[in-house]
C-alpha cells in the first residue's frame, strides 16, 4: 500500500527463540521487513506478538538467534560466533533509531506535551532547546495537537495522549517505528484519531512500521503485509486481503471469526 517500499531490508530476524524463565514464548522466528513497509502483527493474546516487538528494540533480551535493524545487530555484538549482550551505553545508542509507542502511552506525567516530545532529542541527541521545541511543535501539529503543547498528559484524553506519544517517538527521527497495541487502551470513540495519525504516517512518512494490533480494519487498509502469530510461532503471512480474506490455516480462520464476529 505504501508508495515507499524499497528493496533494502530494515529488520531481519533469524531463528529467534525467547523464553521467560522456563516458559518459552517465541519459537524459531524468521522475519524480514523491508524498508518503508508497514507490517501488522495479529494474533490472540499470549501469542508472543508483543514480546517479538519488544525484542526488536531490546526491551527484552533474547535466548537464541539474532535481530538486525538496518544491518546492525540490536542489543548484541557478534564475537567468535557468539552473541554478547551489549553494555547499556551501546544498547542505548542503537535504540535511538527505533521509535516505540506503547499500549498505555507511558507519557511522562510531570512534563507538558511539548516537553515530552522535545525531551529525548535534547538529552540524548544534545539538540538545543529552541530547535528541539520547534520540531516538537511541528510534530504535535502533524498529529493534530496544535494548541495542546503546554497541556500535561493528565489534561489530555487517551487519544490525545497516544498522539503525543507518537510525536515523542517521531522526535528522535527513527527509521523504524514499533507500535505495541496502540489503541487497545483507548475508549472506542478515540481509536479512530490515533489510527488516522498512524495511517498518515504509513502512507506519507516513508518510515518502516511494525504494528501489533487488534484493529483488522487498519491492518486491511494500511498494512502492506499481515502476519498472524499463535503460540509463539508465525502461522501465516501475506497481503492483508489474503490473510484476512482467505486465510489458509484453521487457526487463523478461528481467530478472525472470533475478532470479526
Amino acid at each position: 500500500m505504501s508508495a515507499t517500499v524499497t528493496g533494502s531490508t530494515m529488520v531481519r530476524i533469524e531463528q529467534l527463540d525467547k523464553s521467560f524463565g522456563p516458559h518459552q514464548v517465541l519459537f524459531d522466528i524468521d522475519l524480514e521487513v523491508a524498508a518503508g513497509e508497514t507490517v501488522c502483527l495479529i494474533g490472540p493474546s499470549g501469542s508472543g506478538k508483543s514480546t517479538l516487538l519488544r525484542c526488536i528494540n531490546h526491551l527484552e533480551d533474547i535466548n537464541y538467534g539474532s535481530i538486525t535493524v538496518d544491518d546492525e545487530l540490536i542489543g548484541y555484538r557478534l564475537e567468535k560466533g557468539r552473541l554478547h549482550e551489549l553494555r547499556e551505553k551501546e544498547a542505548c545508542s542503537k535504540r535511538v533509531e527505533i521509535g516505540m509507542v506503547f499500549q498505555h502511552f507511558n507519557l511522562f506525567p510531570h512534563m507538558t506535551a511539548v516537553e515530552n516530545v522535545s525531551f529525548a532529542p535534547m538529552k540524548v541527541k544534545g539538540e538545543d532547546r529552541a530547535s528541539a521545541r520547534a520540531y516538537a511543535r511541528e510534530l504535535l501539529a502533524r498529529v493534530g495537537l496544535s494548541g495542546k503543547e503546554d497541556f500535561y498528559p493528565s489534561q489530555l484524553s487517551g487519544g490525545q495522549q497516544q498522539r503525543v506519544a507518537i510525536a515523542r517517538a517521531l522526535a528522535m527521527r527513527p527509521k523504524l517505528m514499533l507500535f505495541d497495541e496502540p489503541t487497545s487502551a483507548l475508549d472506542p470513540e478515540l481509536v479512530g484519531e490515533v489510527l488516522a495519525v498512524m495511517k498518515d504516517l504509513a502512507l506519507t512518512g516513508g518510515i518502516t512500521m511494525i504494528v501489533v494490533t487488534h484493529e483488522m480494519g487498519f491492518a486491511r487498509e494500511v498494512g502492506d503485509r499481515v502476519i498472524f502469530m499463535d503460540a509463539g510461532r508465525i502461522v501465516e503471512q501475506g497481503p492483508p486481503e489474503q490473510v484476512l480474506g482467505e486465510p489458509e490455516h484453521e487457526r487463523t480462520r478461528a481467530f478472525l471469526s472470533a475478532v470479526l464476529r
Binding site: E88, H104, F108, P109, H110, A120, M172
Partner: protein
C-alpha cells in the same frame, strides 16, 4: 423481605402518596455527642487552669529562661544536629535504597541487613554505643587494607565528640527508616516509565535523574517531612551522651536551680514552636511537589 418482593411485583397496588404540604426536614440530633463534647471541654479547661494555677509551677522562671542565651545555644545545636543528621541520613538512605534494589543478591542483602540492624536497635542504645565508641575502638584508622597507606589515624575519643556521636547515631538510625521510604518511592514509578525512557535511548542514570526521581519525590516528600519531625524529637535523646542539645542544656540548668518542670516546659515550648514552623514549610513543599 416480603415487602421487597412485593415491590418488584408490578401488579402490587401503588403506595398511597404522602400528603402534600409542609415538609421541613429535621436531622437526627446526636444528644450523646453533644454531651461528650461538653465533658471533653470541661476536662480540657480544668486541666489547663489546674496547670496554670499550680503553685508548684513558677511561670516567671519559664519566662526568665525561654530566651536565655544558654537555652538558645542549646536550641541552636539541636537544630544543627537535626539538620546535619537529616542530610547525612538522606544521602545514606538513597545509597541503601539503590543497593537494596540491586540485582546482585550480595549487595541487596547487605542493604537489607543494614535496615534490619539499625531499625532494630533502640535509638538510645545506639547513641550510647556510638557515644562510647572510644571504649571499644581505640584508634580510628582509614587507609587501604593490607597496605601501609593510611589517610587518618586518630584516637576515637578525640574524633567522636558528643556532637559527632549524636549525628552518627541519629543518621545511622534515620537512614534505615528513610531507605524504605526512598525504596517505596522509587518502586511507585511504574515499569512503563522506565521502558518509555529506555526506548527513547536514555541510559539508566538519566532515567533516574529526569524521569523517576521527579515523580518519586511526590511520594517521598510527605513521609520525609515526618521523618524530619521525628529526627528533631529524637535529637532530645542525645542528652544521654551530653550532646549539648536543648534538652541537655535545660537539664543542666535544672540541675543547678532545681526548677526541673519549668525548664522542661521551656524546652517543650521550643520543640513545639520549631515543629509548627517546620510543618508550615512542609505544607507548602507538599503543595509544590503535588502539582502535576
Amino acid at each position: 423481605m416480603t415487602q421487597n418482593i412485593q415491590g418488584l411485583d408490578h401488579t402490587a397496588t401503588t403506595p398511597t402518596p404522602l400528603p402534600r404540604g409542609h415538609r421541613k426536614v429535621v436531622p437526627v440530633r446526636h444528644y450523646g455527642r453533644m454531651l461528650l463534647a461538653v465533658v471533653v471541654v470541661v476536662i480540657v479547661v480544668g486541666s489547663v487552669i489546674g496547670i496554670a494555677n499550680n503553685p508548684n509551677f513558677d511561670w516567671s522562671i519559664v519566662g526568665e529562661f525561654v530566651f536565655s542565651p544558654s537555652i538558645l545555644r542549646g536550641l541552636g545545636s539541636t537544630l544543627l544536629i537535626t539538620i546535619v543528621s537529616m542530610v547525612v541520613a538522606v544521602i545514606l538512605s538513597v545509597i541503601i535504597a539503590v543497593m537494596r534494589m540491586s540485582p546482585s543478591t550480595i549487595i541487596s542483602s547487605v542493604a537489607a541487613a543494614y535496615v534490619f540492624i539499625f531499625r532494630g536497635i533502640p535509638l538510645i542504645v545506639l547513641l550510647i554505643l556510638v557515644g562510647n565508641l572510644g571504649l571499644f575502638i581505640k584508634d580510628i584508622v582509614i587507609g587501604i587494607p593490607f597496605t601501609d597507606i593510611v589517610f587518618i589515624d586518630t584516637p576515637a575519643a578525640r574524633l567522636v565528640t558528643p556532637f559527632v556521636a549524636s549525628v552518627l547515631g541519629l543518621s545511622l538510625a534515620g537512614a534505615a527508616y528513610m531507605a524504605e521510604i526512598m525504596r517505596s518511592g522509587l518502586l511507585a514509578i511504574g515499569r512503563g516509565q522506565r521502558e518509555a525512557a529506555k526506548a527513547l535511548g536514555l541510559n539508566s542514570a538519566r532515567t533516574l535523574r529526569y524521569i523517576v526521581l521527579p515523580q518519586a519525590l511526590r511520594v517521598i516528600v510527605p513521609p520525609m517531612g515526618n521523618e524530619f519531625i521525628g529526627m528533631l524529637k529524637a535529637s532530645a535523646i542525645v542528652s544521654v551522651i551530653a550532646g549539648g542539645d536543648l534538652l541537655t542544656v535545660a537539664q543542666g540548668i535544672a540541675g543547678t536551680n532545681y526548677r526541673t518542670i519549668e525548664l522542661l516546659i521551656v524546652a517543650t515550648i521550643w520543640y513545639l514552636l520549631v515543629i509548627v514552623i517546620f510543618s508550615i514549610g512542609q505544607h507548602f513543599l507538599e503543595k509544590r511537589t503535588a502539582e502535576r
